[in-house]
């Protein structure tokens, strides 16, 4: 047994002339909190989707918990939890109905679903529909839906985007807790303070490639700058992105 939770080798994906992912290799250790950083259009989300097995790579391989993520493998899917960029909720259902529905897709009991709702502090909102939840509450529900089957490996795509500072900090505590329980967590984010605080290691991406991988503190030291944001700007430049 290897203790690599994720092994990615030579991943490539192109759309027409655009090389969305252009030779990404990385390894995430079991129990690690790993961040994928990059400006808009850097290929973070496509990379994450290739790793999750949502898309077929043109080249390269992805192994999650020792198993290939493509083609689709239900036995592997039972062991990973995914939160997609936008909140994927069913129409017209309350928070409790949402999480119980997701739970049943994984063969998890309604009691366990209700307990998960409690964990993310949404028991008081159990009978509220997703459209009436605040941004932070919706994100917590979305994460709860990703965690309801107790996955070993969790993917979160920009979980804190659009949240106010209180909701972000509240969510950070939740993410730390998830990682603290021994789960491997991979997240993408725009916020460097968040990555610096939460992640054991980060990969900085641009133009479909991984520019640098390391512990935030090591990267800051290596480049002789004040914080991870400066590392990011140094690596990816200052010009505007789409």
């Amino acid at each position: 047994m290897t203790d690599a939770a994720i092994t990615v080798e030579g991943l490539r994906k192109r759309y027409g002339d655009v090389r969305a992912v252009d030779g990404v290799s990385l390894e995430v250790v079991s129990g690690e909190f790993y961040g994928i950083l990059g400006p808009n259009g850097a290929g973070k989300t496509t990379t994450l989707e290739l790793i999750e097995g949502l898309r077929e790579p043109d080249e390269g391989t992805v192994r999650l918990l020792g198993l290939p993520s493509w083609p689709r493998n239900p036995d592997l899917l039972r062991r990973i939890g995914v939160q997609l960029q936008s909140s994927a909720f069913f129409e017209k259902l309350t928070a409790r109905e949402q999480i119980r529905s997701f739970a049943s897709l994984y063969g998890v009991s309604a009691d366990r679903a209700d307990a998960m709702l409690e964990t993310v502090g949404l028991t008081g909102k159990a009978d509220v529909r997703d459209t009436e939840l605040s941004g932070g509450q919706a994100q917590r529900l979305s994460i709860a839906c990703a965690l309801v089957h107790d996955p070993e490996l969790v993917f979160l795509d920009e979980p804190t985007t659009g949240l106010d500072p209180q909701a972000r900090r509240n969510l950070w505590d939740l993410l730390r807790e998830i990682n603290g329980q021994g789960r491997t967590v991979v997240l993408t984010t725009h916020y460097m303070d968040e990555a610096e605080l939460l992640c054991d290691r980060v990969a900085v991406m641009d133009a479909g490639r991984v520019l640098r991988v390391g512990r935030p503190r090591d990267l800051i030291e290596e480049l002789g700058v004040a914080n991870l944001e400066d590392v990011f700007l140094r690596l990816t430049g200052r010009e505007y992105r789409e």
């Binding site: 899917l77 997609l84 909720f89 069913f90 129409e91 017209k92 049943s104 897709l105």
Partner: protein, 355 residues
């Protein structure tokens, strides 16, 4: 709960909590049936009302048998107030007023508001006068007419409306639901999310088909329940239950139409627009709202290509005309073939992401 039953529950709740969807798929078609059924109820079988003032020989001398035959076509009222009778005629309450001005001269006043009824009343009274004339000669009539009614050609409004509106309701419900599930789940990335859940794709498809079939059967039951109440008076024929497999096949055919439209549109609004543009003209051409005989002839070959036309006709056949397997089977086969072809095209055009 299994994935199939929990996805079915999710789709069912999503439907019944959507008031707009419930209104357009269940309430509106039923309202149409209730309203149109009541509006056209009198048509065809209705009798004209004729008011007789004073003594009218040709009417007064009719024997029992002739009176009974006459009463099938008109209601005869007698009055002693001619001005009041004429006033009622002008108000449209009665169809004609008749009196004998001088012995042997009948005066008939009728309203021109309803050409068909006016013609019927004129013809009836005239034939009574001619019969009396022939009888007065003491000779046997030189010409006779023998008539016989052909049952099949006379359709009461409800026999036509119930199958037609039901077909429309099925087409609308099935196509809207499958298009909306596809577009909504793609836009919210639920399709992606479900791809990453350990379920079989068949569970999603099966749940969608199951819930749509359930709704279609609810529509069938509601329609028949309304149509058979005595006020509307649909009399079901022995083979009415063939409407169940017909409705099921129709549901699959229109789910495929919805999938195709869902595959090529990105938002619920766009899907709704395209669905309206497809389903409404098809319903008109297929005779869901009024008989297609009134349409110009060149539309007929176009209508023949529409699945709803065949569904409507087959439903009318098994519900109202006593037709059986011979009518239902070819249409069921055709609808299933149509469903397979359209679903295959939809699968080819399917996209995971909205444009």
């Amino acid at each position: 709960m299994s994935a199939l039953s929990s996805l079915s529950k999710v789709m069912f709740l999503g439907l019944i909590r959507d008031r707009t969807a419930v209104f357009f798929m269940l309430v509106l078609p039923l309202l149409f049936l209730v309203l149109f059924g009541a509006l056209f109820q009198g048509e065809g079988g209705s009798r004209s009302t004729v008011v007789q003032y004073g003594e009218v020989t040709v009417l007064d001398e009719l024997d029992e048998e002739h009176l009974a035959a006459l009463s099938e076509a008109l209601v005869l009222e007698r009055t002693g107030d001619r001005e009041d009778a004429l006033e009622r005629l002008r108000a449209g309450e009665v169809d004609a007023v008749v009196w004998e001005e001088t012995p042997g001269t009948l005066e008939l006043r009728y309203s021109a508001a309803d050409e068909a009824r006016a013609g019927a009343v004129r013809g009836l009274v005239n034939s009574l006068v001619q019969d009396a004339n022939v009888a007065a000669t003491g000779q046997p009539p030189a010409f006779r007419m023998s008539t016989e009614r052909v049952e099949d050609e006379s359709i009461r409004a409800i026999q036509f409306l119930a199958p037609g509106l039901l077909g429309w309701a099925i087409a609308m419900g099935a196509s809207f639901m499958s298009a909306f599930t596809l577009v909504n789940w793609r836009r919210k990335r639920l399709l992606r999310r479900l791809w990453l859940a350990p379920i079989r794709p068949g569970a999603v498809v099966g749940a969608r088909i199951g819930v749509s079939l359930g709704l279609a059967m609810a529509q069938l039951v509601l329609f028949l329940a309304v149509a058979v109440i005595p006020f509307y008076g649909l009399r079901l024929t022995d083979m009415w239950w063939l409407s169940i497999p017909l409705v099921a096949c129709g549901t699959l055919a229109f789910m495929a139409v919805g999938l195709l439209i869902g595959a090529v549109t990105s938002t619920e609004e766009a899907a709704n627009g395209v669905l309206q543009a497809v389903i409404m003209p098809m319903a008109f051409l297929s005779g869901s709202f009024f008989p297609t005989e009134v349409m110009p002839g060149w539309l007929e070959p176009i209508a023949r290509l529409l699945p709803l036309k065949h569904l409507n006709e087959a439903l009318m056949g098994v519900l109202s005309r006593g037709e059986g397997w011979g009518t239902a089977l070819p249409v069921m086969g055709g609808l299933l073939l149509f469903a397979a072809v359209v679903a295959a095209i939809a699968a080819r055009l399917f996209r995971w992401e909205a444009k």
